[in-house]
């Protein structure tokens, strides 16, 4: 975009803004300020954390389920990964949906072929897809929130385009707080790469709007239904 002249102008606007800021902030010890900023960015220090998330894992699971079901989300629990396809089929049947779903590569190896009546495809969704099934990176008990990250095995549009979104969540993925989830994310990323995936979505229920007379309606643009299949592990 633009030529070198435009680029030159952009640089000077940048420097002018930064100079304005420094001028307005007044004199300071610059090296010290830089050290303060660098230290703060590295420390990942936590601020006040609500005490309610500090419970053992069993209670954390219970808290997560209570919180997310309070926001129009449904949850079914299954004993292992092999039981997931049947749980998805049951969800589709319950809502009179066609027995077809598009799967995220991450959860494509759960033995879907053993359910020949359930038509599945793996990859990004098409406009016509009504149901997607994805994994999750983590879940947060404090607020009843799913953390969904983009990656080769987890196309981000699967979380948004189809009307029905089924999330396969392993019990061990439920953390207490957002901060716990960030630590898990930092630990999971390869050190050389960025600390962040392109997208990290925190989802607390199906899409909704209150833009008409402050009345809530589900399914504004994203999924109308959000269903979690919770796998004991």
């Amino acid at each position: 975009m633009g030529g070198t002249a435009a680029k030159g102008a952009a640089v000077s606007v940048r420097d002018a803004i930064l100079a304005d800021i420094r001028g307005a902030l007044g004199p300071r010890h610059d090296a010290e300020a830089r050290d303060t900023v660098a230290a703060r960015l590295k420390a990942h220090k936590r601020n006040v954390i609500p005490a309610r998330s500090a419970v053992d894992h069993a209670h954390r699971t219970q808290m997560f389920i209570e919180q997310i079901t309070a926001t129009h989300t449904t949850v079914t629990t299954v004993v292992d990964g092999a039981a997931v396809p049947a749980a998805v089929a049951a969800f589709l049947k319950q809502h009179n949906l066609p027995a077809a779903a598009v799967l995220a590569p991450d959860i494509a190896d759960l033995g879907w072929e053993s359910h020949p009546l359930l038509q599945t495809r793996t990859g990004v969704p098409l406009e016509s897809d009504q149901v997607s099934v994805t994994g999750a990176f983590a879940a947060i008990a404090e607020t009843g929130t799913l953390m969904l990250t983009s990656g080769a095995g987890s196309p981000i549009t699967l979380n948004l385009l189809p009307d029905n979104h089924v999330v396969v969540l392993r019990r061990s993925q439920i953390t207490g707080t957002l901060e716990d989830a960030w630590d898990a994310l930092r630990a999971a990323q390869k050190p050389a790469a960025s600390a962040m995936p392109r997208t990290a979505m925190f989802v607390s229920g199906p899409s909704s709007t209150a833009d008409i007379e402050l009345t809530m309606y589900l399914g504004a643009h994203g999924p109308r239904r959000l269903h979690i299949v919770l796998v004991e592990d």
Binding site: R14, A33, K45, S204, D211, I212, L214
Partner: protein
């Protein structure tokens, strides 16, 4: 948009007589305030979180240049681009350039107050690019060709019937001729109309609730998921954000998120909170190929170190709107510019000038509710007072208004005279109010007595009563 803040009095008169608006404002008060109270009461740490939130923003503002540099460095390291805009014109030109080089004809937009601030839509339209608002509220006011009337509910002033009328008028071109009356059907129709627009858009523009220096990330918060579709489907994602949106770390953003949704809608978390970092990665099957962040100053850097610096802590939750008796009576449009409510009364004069906007900081009873509910503890009444002082020094406002203030100031500085005069006034009013103890008519106060009686003072002045009480208490 062309400001009409100088017509504030006329705007107010219109708003007070608008029965649809009054019904809508009643709904705001009934819904938002009780939901916020419930959410805040349910979290014992809420006030401690507010203290942390204030500390985070104050620290960031004190090192704003350094955090912005870090942010830029990280965006670039993740394959994105940062563009700096000193003025709204800079920002519009940069965005148009980006849209044109992407060959864009249609642009989808997530809700952004900064896009409203720079008046992006008319500019894009004038250059042959069609902007499509995707937040349902923004979509409704785009069809109505109106500015937002609330920062988190842009169309809260519209009734369902008005939305039905707009949809009939504008959706006819898509073959929708039936007038819908149910909210659920209106939402479904908007979804059906907008879905192909998302898929056809070449560029998606969103705002940002936060920018994170640690990772070069922009964060948006929505309930509809419109901001997500807007940024994930087109080839190019442009973020337009003002520079005070920056926070240091993911942990800091997490703390602010805990107070944001609770203060705004009474939710613990909005339905979608999305952290976006750079364009899609090499092995990502979807997501945008290009990621641009346009950082807008528009006078904010000049507020640092002034009595207005604290307004830069604002996270645009709207709590001050929902709890303001003035906003609750007149709605957002009467303020005459993009931002309204108490935060708008403080921020607007920084952008369109106190000459234009001097009515806004005067429209307050100083009840202090805005500051009491502000998650960022912004001293809004104090800053409105600073604006009033500036307006007075600049001789703004009517001569009668100024004379009243000057007389009052003169009198208030002479306590003996003040007390003597108020003693006379109290006795005169008590005599005049006999035998009912109230007056139907009073010179200089017809504005009040035209519509209701004024109760007459029933006893002595406060100072007299206080002195008598002290005498009695003495042994």
């Amino acid at each position: 948009m062309q400001p009409t803040s100088f017509l504030f009095r006329e705007n107010v008169s219109k708003a007070l007589l608008d029965t649809d608006l009054q019904t809508a404002l009643y709904r705001v008060d009934k819904n938002f305030t009780s939901r916020r109270t419930a959410a805040v009461t349910a979290l014992p740490e809420f006030d401690a979180l507010r203290d942390d939130a204030v500390r985070i923003k104050d620290h960031t503002l004190a090192h704003l240049d350094l955090y912005l540099e870090k942010f830029e460095e990280k965006v670039v390291a993740n394959g994105g681009h940062v563009h700096w805009a000193a003025t709204p014109d800079d920002a519009k030109r940069i965005i148009l350039d980006l849209c044109q080089s992407a060959g864009a004809r249609t642009v989808t937009k997530g809700k952004s107050m900064i896009a409203e601030e720079i008046a992006l839509n008319p500019y894009l339209e004038a250059h042959g690019i069609t902007p499509v608002e995707t937040d349902l509220g923004e979509y409704i006011i785009q069809l109505a060709d109106e500015p937002p009337s609330h920062i988190i509910g842009p169309a809260i002033h519209k009734t369902k019937e008005q939305v039905s009328d707009l949809f009939v008028e504008h959706h006819r071109q898509y073959g929708k001729t039936q007038r819908l009356t149910e909210g659920v059907d209106l939402v479904a129709e908007a979804r059906e109309i907008l879905r192909p627009r998302y898929l056809a858009a070449d560029v998606g523009i969103t705002g940002a609730n936060f920018l994170i220096a640690e990772t070069g990330t922009s964060v948006i918060v929505t309930n509809e998921g419109n901001g997500d579709l807007t940024q994930q489907l087109p080839r190019t994602h442009i973020v337009i954000a003002s520079l005070e949106k920056i926070v240091p770390t993911l942990e800091d953003a997490s703390t602010l998120l805990r107070v944001l949704a609770r203060s705004a809608t009474g939710q613990q978390m909005s339905v979608y909170t999305t952290f976006s970092t750079g364009p899609r990665r090499a092995d990502d099957p979807d997501g945008p190929h290009n990621y641009h962040v346009v950082l807008l100053d528009n006078g904010r850097s000049k507020l640092l170190g002034t009595e207005f610096q604290d307004i830069l802590r604002c996270i645009r939750c709207g709590a001050c709107f929902n709890h303001c008796p003035v906003y609750g009576s007149i709605g957002g449009h009467a303020y005459g510019w993009v931002y309204s409510g108490p935060m708008g009364a403080v921020l607007t004069p920084t952008m369109i000038g106190i000459d234009e906007a001097h009515h806004l900081p005067s429209a307050t009873p100083f009840c202090g509710r805005c500051e009491a509910v502000c998650p960022m503890r912004i001293p809004l009444p104090k800053m409105m007072r600073h604006w009033r002082e500036q307006a007075f020094d600049k001789k703004l406002g009517g001569s009668r208004h100024r004379l009243t203030l000057r007389t009052w100031a003169w009198l208030a500085q002479r306590p003996a005279l003040y007390q003597r005069l108020s003693r006379i006034a109290v006795r005169y009013l008590a005599w005049r109010g006999r035998p009912l103890g109230r007056m139907h008519d009073l010179p200089f106060a017809q504005g009040w007595t035209a519509a209701r009686d004024l109760p007459a003072p029933q006893g002595r002045t406060f100072s007299e009563q206080w002195a008598a009480r002290q005498r009695r208490a003495r042994p």
